[in-house]
């Protein structure tokens, strides 16, 4: 009798304590910091219910681009991998997908066609008020960093960068931009 009552309390207690967590989650995910998921990851919901938080992708990344969330992005994101391109961007080696046991990061062959067809971490956007090339000081560093040069990122007059739809969001341009704060940023595609 007593134990049964206690079990009841335990269940109710767990549920009650998790409710605020879930709502806090929703709140955080609306604002939140700007981050990328590793290349090829599906939209956020699907990624979160596929990923088992094993850390293998981080251990495979030769560029140490992958970091792991604590509580700052909500409980659902705890221990999931993410990339902050300004700190360390993805070199599109596709090793993370190769080790991911669940397919939360799918296996993608390391060819330009496959990468362009299947990777969509986000898309670069140039802030013309910050970009040196748009201020008349020929720069073009981001263009030289882009692995999809002339496909994803072209330069026009005075090395002014222009991003195209083919951009996969690897973040190497943002990482390399010599302006502070960076004049080119990746707008993440999470859904």
């Amino acid at each position: 009798m007593k134990r049964r009552a206690f079990l009841g309390y335990a269940v109710a207690g767990t549920a009650a304590s998790l409710l605020p967590l879930a709502t806090a989650d929703a709140a955080i995910q609306q604002g939140g910091q700007r981050y990328l998921r590793p290349p090829g990851a599906p939209k956020e919901d699907e990624f979160l219910d596929h990923c088992i938080r094993c850390g293998l992708c981080g251990q495979a990344c030769p560029n140490r681009a992958i970091k792991f969330f604590g509580m700052e992005n909500g409980t659902a994101s705890l221990d999931t991998p993410y990339i902050t391109p300004r700190e360390q961007a993805c070199i599109l080696c596709m090793k993370c997908g190769d080790v991911c046991p669940t397919g939360a990061i799918p296996k993608i062959p390391r060819t330009a066609e496959d990468v362009m067809a299947k990777v969509d971490m986000g898309q670069a956007r140039v802030d013309e008020t910050l970009c040196l090339s748009y201020q008349g000081k020929t720069c073009g560093v981001c263009y030289r960093a882009c692995p999809l040069q002339d496909i994803a990122l072209r330069v026009g007059m005075l090395e002014q960068p222009h991003v195209s739809e083919a951009c996969v969001g690897c973040g190497l341009c943002e990482r390399s931009c010599i302006q502070i704060p960076q004049a080119i940023r990746i707008i993440p595609h999470h859904s």
Binding site: D49, I52, C54, G58, D79, V99
Partner: protein
């Protein structure tokens, strides 16, 4: 001490040492693998001269360690990755059955390549029961050391927790954890499962510059074990332990008591980390075949048997006082008329 002749296989009592070796190796691997990862990233960066002195130490030592076995560390070392939660052991992908259960609960989908990685652990658990807990679990390694610490604290007169609770709690934790996964849209059990946490946190600490949230949770479980219930998390709360106990209910390899050789000393019950009752044949689904009880039994009355079910309680050991007294009384009864 009794003489070693007429005993079962004499090496059985040394299995517990082998088990400690196994636990230690797993734990050391979890420390080594992040360092190997760092080594790989240094190679990938092609900038040995730019490394800090401490990073050079990592580079050099890992190079020395692996050079005899591999030719291309940048790729060859990809065959050794991960943790006990999910990992790649010399090219073989293995995952914890709880990771699979949690992932299925969260997404409602069977991802076949992932399912395959859990088959070997599931098969072994069906045969050997909760052996992961005793032989592999990196959290178990720390929890058993924690138990030893508790014994020392008691020796100097401090109180440690010796509370007993319902073992059924952990099934509730497993159930609630799996039930919450689809609601939260994430693999919830990953956050409260000690071996997953330990593997992950060691990696965070070595390769990512510091412990994460899980370390706090794990420290809390250590305190719980010390202050509330000896080995309490594994006995009463661990969702993984619950899953393996269920899978291992009809395990084939079991430790059983030979009642004829037992002298009722109860050393087995005292040493059992899982609070079981080998003294009265109370092994059940939660025995993890750790062999600690075999190692302490002075008369070698605990042996391995291949059987899908425990024998029923066979009463007092025949070498014990209780049995002998009853037996002698019976003998006297028979003589009286």
């Amino acid at each position: 001490m009794s003489s070693p002749d007429s005993k079962p296989f004499f090496l059985w009592r040394h299995l517990n040492k082998l088990r400690w070796l196994s636990l230690s190796i797993v734990f050391l691997m979890l420390i080594l693998i992040p360092f190997l990862h760092l080594y790989q990233t240094y190679i990938a960066a092609h900038a040995y001269d730019l490394l800090y002195p401490s990073e050079k130490v990592i580079y050099d030592s890992m190079e020395t360690l692996t050079a005899p076995f591999i030719s291309d560390p940048e790729n060859d070392l990809d065959l050794l990755k991960g943790t006990t939660w999910s990992g790649r052991l010399f090219g073989l992908d293995l995952s914890d059955p709880l990771a699979l259960a949690g992932q299925i609960a969260a997404s409602g989908k069977l991802l076949w390549p992932f399912v395959l990685t859990a088959l070997i652990p599931i098969g072994l658990t069906l045969l050997l029961g909760r052996f992961f807990c005793g032989w592999i679990c990196p959290a178990s390694f720390l929890y058993e050391l924690n138990t030893t610490l508790g014994a020392w604290l008691r020796n100097i007169g401090l109180h440690t927790g010796q509370r007993r609770m319902s073992r059924k709690f952990k099934y509730l934790v497993l159930f609630v954890g799996l039930l919450l996964s689809p609601l939260l849209g994430s693999v919830a059990v990953a956050a409260i499962y000690p071996p997953a946490i330990v593997g992950r946190e060691i990696y965070y600490a070595i390769a990512l510059g510091g412990f994460g949230v899980g370390a706090v949770f794990f420290a809390a479980t250590l305190l719980f074990d010390l202050l509330v219930a000896r080995r309490g998390f594994c006995r009463y709360l661990c969702p993984g332990g619950a899953l393996y106990s269920l899978l291992g209910k009809f395990r084939l390899l079991r430790i059983q008591r030979v009642v004829e050789d037992c002298n009722d000393c109860a050393k087995c019950n005292a040493v059992c980390e899982f609070g079981l009752d080998p003294l009265r044949d109370g092994f059940g689904m939660e025995c993890n075949n750790c062999t600690a009880c075999i190692a302490v039994c002075p008369t070698d009355a605990l042996v391995f048997k291949v059987t899908p079910k425990d024998q029923p309680d066979r009463g007092p050991g025949h070498l014990g006082r209780q049995y002998r007294r009853a037996h002698n009384e019976n003998a006297e009864d028979e003589h009286e008329p």
